[in-house]
Amino acid sequence: MKALLLKYWRVISGPSKHYSLGFLTMGGFVMGVIFWGGFNTAMEFTNTEVFCTSCHENLYAELQDTVHFTNRSGVRAICSSCHVPHDWTDKIARKMQASKEVFAWMTGSISTPEKFEARRLTLAEREWHRLKANDSLECRNCHQFDYMDFTAQSQRAVNMHSTALAGGDKTCIDCHKGIAHRLPDMSGVDMAGLD
């Protein structure tokens, strides 16, 4: 046992070819921190609106008309507040998926307003499915049901929130489609999720 430890010690402290293993380990650690940080910074950048807007210019313009851009409280939602899960692993998963977008962008699937309009329903439906499946997680990151003050909400909101939402039959996106964007042709789509 002692001999084994000694052997390890010699390997770690003794001069290797050029650097001690200890130095290499430390160096590796430092580089790791730098790369990890750099990776995360890159990840952070891909969460900025500048990044999203570089391909989705039209949607940024649309967002400016909505309550999630300006409101009395001055709290803003940016693209990634609604479109990228906050949980880190989910984020990676989403990023892997998003690489497909880069491919789609290269092939120009939504490169003109006309192409985008034609494809918009398909894209919107993907988002609705995602939000339906995660019980509107992104909305709930900001709007928490438990802290909604029904006495402060409008009557229409209370009627719906205290029944279908409270009972768990419906989730935010069932009723609040088109909250941040213009909607595509909705004929045949169940708008309020109440049908």
């Binding site: 008309d65 909505t66 309550v67 409008s154 009557q155 229409r156 009627n159 719906m160 279908a164 088109g178 213009r182 909607l183 595509p184 042709d185 909705m186 708008m191 309020a192 109440l194 049908d195």
Partner: protein, 148 residues
């Protein structure tokens, strides 16, 4: 030189005109001299209490008792119908659009809202808490009939 003179004349005339109008006491809604920029009135708040207002006459399109900010009504989608269409009124308890909305101009009933009734805000409007600038002299038909 000549051009300069003309310019000066025009400017003088314009100035004289402006002061003449300003000193006149027009009875206008504007309530202030014309050359003066008035403070803009406060923005009125849209009523959002869901309480139906009375109708001034039987055929009057009812007013909207709630906010409609950001509601999309265009070729793609009609947000109003997300709550007011026949199929969802049980769930929303919103009033169904009246049967006249399903009629074409020949009086035939269609399965869905008639194109001529599609754009809700042509007839229905929200109400605000703005105070009217002028008194409203509208007389209700019942009062007219009673000869008041």
């Amino acid at each position: 030189m000549n051009a300069f003179k003309t310019l000066a004349l025009v400017a003088a005339a314009a100035f004289a005109g402006a002061t003449a109008i300003a000193s006149d006491n027009f009875a206008t809604l504007r309530d202030g001299a014309i050359a003066q920029e008035k403070d803009a009135p406060r923005f009125a708040k849209v009523e959002n209490n869901d309480i139906k207002r009375k109708r001034a006459y039987p055929m009057q399109p009812p007013t909207i008792p709630h906010k409609i900010d950001g509601y999309q009504v265009d070729l793609n989608v009609n947000r109003c119908m997300a709550c007011h269409s026949r199929r969802v009124t049980e769930a929303t308890q919103a009033p169904m659009v009246s049967v006249t909305h399903y009629m074409d101009r020949d009086g035939n009933f269609l399965a869905d809202v008639s194109p001529r009734r599609y754009f809700c805000q042509q007839c229905h409007v929200t109400q605000t808490d703005a105070r009217p600038v002028l008194a409203n002299e509208f007389v209700d038909i019942d009062e007219l009939l009673q000869g008041r």
